[in-house]
Structures are given as C-alpha cells and as structure tokens.
C-alpha cells in the first residue's frame, strides 16, 4: 500500500507539472530568475546537509554529499 502511495505521489506530481505547464518566454522569467527561486539547495545549507546525512539514515537527492570521506563521528 505504501509503495502504491509513493508511486501515486510521484506520478501525480509529474502529471500536475506537465499538464499545467505553460510556455514561459525569457522576458517573463524575472520572478523565476530571482536568487531565492533557485531549484537547488543553498550553499549555506551545505554543512547542515552533511550533519543530517550522518545523524539520519537517509541521504541523497538533495544536492548534498552522497559519498567520499567518512565523517563517521
């Protein structure tokens, strides 16, 4: 059941994104080009993501470290 919910969530997100997409012209992107709108983690989050990686079992897909170096403490 959980798997079904997860896959449904993924498919729902993708389909919502694609069906509601409108072609946005370059001159209409002033809001999207705002620094705060960047679709990536901030550089200032880098070390937060590192400690969360070590203090929790889950990792990856957030732009943080995915290997290399121990940081076992």
């Amino acid at each position: 059941m959980k798997r079904f919910i997860i896959w449904f969530f993924c498919l729902f997100t993708i389909s919502v994104c694609y069906t509601s997409c409108s072609t946005v012209k370059p001159y209409q992107k002033s809001r999207l080009n705002d620094t705060e709108m960047e679709l990536s983690a901030r550089k200032s989050q880098k070390f937060e993501q590192s400690f969360q990686l070590y203090r929790e079992g889950g990792s990856g897909a957030n732009g943080g470290k995915s290997g290399g170096g121990c940081g076992c403490n």
Binding site: C10, L32, D34, E36, G57, S66, G67
Partner: protein, 417 residues
C-alpha cells in the same frame, strides 16, 4: 632627374598609402567574443556545529555524543568564452573540517588522547564544465580527494545537462564514483595483542579496508508558469566494502562461546558488523513558488529507502521574506521521520545469533525537527560598501532528534564577484 623625382614621389605616396591603409575587420557573423579566463565568483562558507546526546555508538548506544565541528570551504569559479559561444568553466574547491569528539575518545579511554579524539579532514576538488551559451547544454568532469586520519577517498564524476529549446525544461545527469580506503580501528579491549591502535607511534599492524560508493543522479526541472517551477530528482546509489564502523561497540544480551580481546576474555561485546553492500534509493521533489514581491515559498520533499530496511520521509519549507530588494530573512523548518534498519538494537539487547548488529542510533527509528532562519544581504554596491563582496548570508539552525540528541549550527556564506 625628372624620373628620379617621379620615382621618389611614387615611392613616398606608396609608403604613405601603405600606412594610411587601415585594415577593415572581417564582419563577425557569429557574435563570438573571445574572453580569457576570468574569475566569475568566489565563495567562502564557514560553519560551527555542536551536538550533545547520550546514545554514542562508540560506547554501544550509551554515553556522550558531544561533538564540535568547525567546517570551511573555499571555492573559485573561473570561466572563458570559446568560439561558437562555448563556455569553459573551472571550479576549484577546498574544504577543511576540524572536529573534536568525546565519543571517539572512548575508543581507548585509557590513553591520554586516542587516535580519533580530534581530526582534520581536507578535501579538494575540481570540476571542468563546457557549456553552450546558446542552447544551455553542457557536460563536465569532476575529480575529488578527501583525507583524514583514518580515511582516504578518491572521487570522479561526470555531469551532463540538456535544456529544452524554449529553456523551460532541463534534464541533468550526474554520475559519481568514490573509491575509499579505511583504516580499521578497533575498540581497545577488542584488539588482539598483535593488533595496533592505529596511531603513528604504534608499530603494530592494522587492517585497511575499501569502501566504494557509486551513484547516479537524474533530475528533471520544469518551469510551470511565471511564478512556479519544480524539480524531480532520483538518485540511486550503491556502496560496497566496509560499511560498518569497527570502533563502534555492540553489547549482547548473552555471551558468545569464544572470547575476544588481548586476553580472550570478552564474551558479550563485539565491534559493529553490517553487510558489505548497500543499495539506496532517494526520490525528491522541489517546488518553488514566487508568491509576491515580498514572499517566496521554497519546499522540498524526499522519500528514501534502502536494502537495510531504512525508510524515511523528509519535508522542508522555507519562506524567504524580502524586507527590501536587497535584504531578506528566511525562516525554515524541516521534519524527518525514519523507520530504522533491521540491524539496530539498543545497548545490551542484541542476540548472539544475529549476523549483523549495530547500536548506532543514527540508524534507529527516529523523528527529527530542524528549524531556524537565514539572513541575507546583497546590496548592488556591495556588502559594507565593498564592491566585490556580492552577498552575505548568515544562517542558524537548531536540531532536535527524538532520541535525545540536540544540536546547533551557525553558517556564514560570503560570495565575492
């Protein structure tokens, strides 16, 4: 004589005409402007992290988890414009972390200072990316290295970006491989008499084991409308080698028949033991919405699963509030819930029949809350009037874990342009 005059005059006019002739530049039809290597930006990020708790894995799931870490990275991005509007970008990064850990000091509590009481990690990396300024498409390569007292890592990567013709959709692929080598340090009471401590003044041998990590990151970003954009990331990864931390102790609820240690008299304790392979699958979505000129909503959700039985859901929300065009405050909140690995049990609760065992609470059932705020300033004339200091970000976060661990982190990011 006339002939001589005429010849001299002709020669003079010829020389004059040669000097007077200015070369007519060939018409540039490619808009190509060659540009030498120049610095695009420099970033310096520094952070101080401090945690406290009472479930240290080094002491079998009990004992202090007090730890402090002072982390720094410095990166320089250079670029040059090549023919056909190709841009070459070089990114150099150097990271230096220094930590002190009370629990690591318990590897050998009898020594004045054990091998891992404190350590410094140095990790340089370099990335080269070639991009087409017209299409936005790019590809690149990364090399990295990491060194700490008991751990070395060499990494290599490849990245590829493809952008749709209308530039509203982007696909990114990142392939990464890390080939690591780990010095196997054991708790003092579990070492045989021939096994070394790992410190430089101990000539007795210690084992070295590999730990290799491979990951592929597929991401698709999409502009949905003039205010909303989304990103989907799938990042499967595989690890192989020594994945257990051998200086972390595990205590059992009964005795093994064979003793270990220098006198072979330890019966209910072993170093942590975990499988040599681990498959991880995180899937994440980011959704950013420009509400109005003052508020932006940044959201993130991730589902994580691996073959050790860990399942986790992570959700984040951050709302940058623009006080002026150049100053913003961004409060944020992150929630994480995790079903722990099947190999975890608390202190003294593992059975001797189990093949794999750990008392590391990082891998247990847990919930965590992380909240704080970021202050950002980026005036057009530079921060504090210094033209090259493009922006300053100061960020503080407080972390509370359901196992009792608490931590604080303060980060400063300076961007120079």
């Amino acid at each position: 004589m006339k002939k001589i005059y005429l010849s001299v005059l002709a020669l003079y006019i010829g020389i004059l005409s040669l000097h007077a002739q200015t070369p007519i530049p060939a018409k540039d039809t490619t808009n190509y402007k060659a540009r030498k290597l120049k610095i695009d930006e420099i970033n310096y990020v520094t952070a101080y992290y401090h945690q406290n708790g009472n479930n240290s894995a080094v002491t079998g799931g009990i004992g202090t988890e007090k730890l402090s870490d002072f982390a720094n990275t410095f990166d320089v991005q250079l670029s040059s414009l090549r023919p056909n509007n190709h841009k070459n970008t070089l990114l150099f990064e150097l990271g230096v972390d220094h930590y002190t850990s009370a629990s690591s000091d318990k590897i050998d509590p009898n020594s004045v200072s054990s091998a891992s009481k404190s350590d410094t990690r140095v990790y340089p990396s370099i990335n080269f990316t070639r991009s087409n300024e017209n299409t936005g498409n790019s590809y690149g390569f990364t090399g990295s290295y990491s060194h700490e007292y008991d751990y070395q890592s060499i990494g290599a990567g490849f990245n590829l970006t493809r952008v749709s013709p209308n530039k509203n959709r982007q696909f990114d692929l990142k392939l990464l491989a890390f080939l690591d080598k780990w010095k196997v340090i054991l708790p003092v009471e579990l070492r045989s008499s021939q096994y070394g401590s790992g410190s430089s003044d101990d000539r007795r041998p210690v084992d070295y084991k590999p730990r290799n990590s491979f990951s592929a990151s597929f991401s698709l970003s999409q502009v949905i409308n003039t205010r909303l954009q989304a990103l989907l990331i799938v990042e499967p990864s595989y690890q192989h080698g020594l994945l257990a931390t051998k200086y972390q102790r595990v205590y059992f609820n009964s005795n093994f028949t064979e003793g270990v240690g220098p006198d072979l008299n330890i019966y209910n304790e072993r170093p942590e033991n975990l499988p040599d392979n681990r498959y991880k699958l995180p899937i994440a979505v980011r959704l950013n919405y420009f509400l109005d000129d003052h508020y932006i909503i940044r959201t993130f959700y991730r589902f994580y699963m691996d073959d050790w039985g860990i399942r986790a859901h992570t959700a984040e929300i951050e709302i940058p509030v623009k006080l002026t065009s150049f100053v913003s405050i961004s409060p944020f909140y992150r929630y994480n819930t995790q079903k722990g690995t099947r190999y975890f049990a608390p202190y003294g609760q593992h059975s001797i029949d189990e093949t794999y065992y750990t008392s590391d609470y990082d891998l247990s059932d847990l919930q965590s809350n992380f909240f704080g705020a970021e202050f950002r300033i980026a005036p057009p004339k530079g921060v504090f009037g210094y033209q090259h200091l493009n922006s300053l970000e100061l960020r503080f976060g407080h972390y509370i874990r359901s196992t009792g661990l608490n931590s604080n982190i303060l980060t400063l990011h300076l961007k120079f342009k």
